[in-house]
């Protein structure tokens, strides 16, 4: 899936065909990662978020250094990770701000607890497995969630994930393992036992 460096060079030189090639090849994995990491509460914004990420990528395209031994796709996913983390950070700030301004005393902490943006009654009504997986993913910490999505859904290798997350491969393995175990517990009713 990786983009040839020659294509990147052409895009740096202003070749719009090369830009299109990059966006066409990467927009699905980028959008899917955004969607899985941020959850459906951001589904209406996911394409805007993806566009922002692509803009950041293209603004700094000339800084991509192939001699570092990092794949272009991996480099792009570092933008995905950073931007998604920023989005959540801003969301948390806004949510905290709304809570502090809440005068009727209603507890809205559920928004922070499950991260899905859904009210408890909606959760009870939800029986679809996909939604349960989304909830389970949302319960993970940000670092674990991103590692899990990149590994299990986008099939990135451990080294690439370590590059994206700016950590060691050992840390990636550890986060991945903990994420799996947490998900197994959350999704136990849907999993076949041996």
């Amino acid at each position: 899936m990786d983009i040839p460096y020659e294509t990147v060079e052409r895009a740096v030189a202003g070749d719009q065909g090369a830009c299109r090639e990059i966006v066409e090849k990467l927009h699905r994995p980028v959008l899917a990662t955004i969607h899985r990491f941020l959850g459906r509460r951001f589904s209406e914004d996911s394409e805007d978020i993806a566009q922002e990420i692509f803009l950041k990528v293209f603004r700094t395209l000339d800084r991509f250094d192939k001699d570092r031994g990092v794949k272009f796709t991996t480099w792009v996913f570092t933008f995905v990770r950073n931007h998604c983390f920023d989005v959540l950070k801003k969301k948390r700030l806004r949510t905290t701000s709304l809570q502090s301004e809440n005068e009727d005393g209603e507890d809205k902490s559920w928004e922070l607890e499950d991260g899905s943006g859904r009210r408890p009654e909606e959760l009870v009504e939800s029986t679809e497995l996909g939604q349960q997986i989304e909830l389970a993913l949302a319960s993970l910490g940000e670092e674990q969630r991103m590692v899990f999505v990149l590994r299990e859904y986008e099939q990135l290798d451990l080294r690439s994930i370590a590059e994206v997350m700016d950590c060691s491969e050992g840390t990636v393995k550890s986060r991945l393992h903990r994420a799996k175990e947490a998900l197994k517990q959350k999704l136990q009713p849907y999993l076949r036992t041996s």
Partner: protein, 232 residues
């Protein structure tokens, strides 16, 4: 506890569920398809973004530095532009430092004045031919000492003085053709007239896209040619 130890403990807690089983259900969490226009919209935004940050022109820094230097020197912008665009510099009275500065100024704005080059080159060639004619025709004549008061200086050529310069040259050339190029007046011996001096500065440097021309003609020569000083 090391990484392996933790793994073993976790496996013990959920020992009956395999990774394969988890993977088998992960596909149930599908994502929505991107909209059909997503790629086109993204490319449009990228192009707009690229075009919204125009790159500065190549001589942008030079122009800023020049403008800043001029401002520090207290020169109004209009005069500065005029001076930069006028390639004729009175080399004869110029110190080395001034000359260096002038050449720098001229060189920095060279690209913008490229259109002036052909006209300046033609006039330089014309003046050079005229000088050669003088020297060939009056080789034996003694040189005269010229004072600044008796020099015609076309210092603002070509932007403001090009017409004047051309008129002066044509006046002189007419007389030279008729009277000076080896054609003495009837009954006259020896040098007919004081030697006119038409001097050219050193060949233009590659840094100077337009040539610098200075016309030196003394008053007596002009009068002997029948040209009034005031005509120039």
């Amino acid at each position: 506890m090391n990484e392996n130890g933790r793994e073993r403990q976790d496996d013990a807690s959920t020992g009956t569920i395999s990774d394969e089983s988890l993977r088998a259900i992960l596909g149930s969490y599908s994502v929505v398809e991107p909209s059909q226009d997503f790629v086109a919209d993204t490319l449009l935004r990228i192009q707009m973004d690229q075009h919204s940050i125009p790159r500065p022109s190549e001589d942008f820094v030079d122009r800023v530095v020049c403008a800043w230097a001029d401002e520090q020197a207290g020169r109004p912008q209009t005069e500065v532009l005029s001076e930069v665009l006028v390639p004729v510099v009175p080399f004869a009275r110029q110190s080395g430092q001034e000359l260096s500065l002038s050449r720098t100024e001229l060189g920095l704005a060279g690209q913008r004045r490229a259109s002036l080059f052909p006209m300046a080159l033609a006039l330089v060639g014309f003046a050079a031919a005229l000088a050669l004619a003088f020297f060939v025709g009056r080789q034996s004549a003694s040189s005269s000492v010229l004072s600044d008061e008796n020099l015609v200086r076309i210092e603002d050529f070509p932007s403001r003085g090009s017409n004047r310069f051309a008129r002066s040259l044509s006046l002189i050339v007419d007389r030279v053709d008729n009277d000076l190029l080896g054609n003495q007046r009837p009954g006259q011996t020896g040098p007919a007239y004081p030697r006119p001096v038409l001097s050219l500065p050193a060949p233009p440097s590659s840094l100077i896209p337009s040539a610098a021309v200075e016309l030196h003609v003394d008053r007596a020569t002009l009068e002997s040619l029948g040209i009034a000083w005031e005509q120039l």
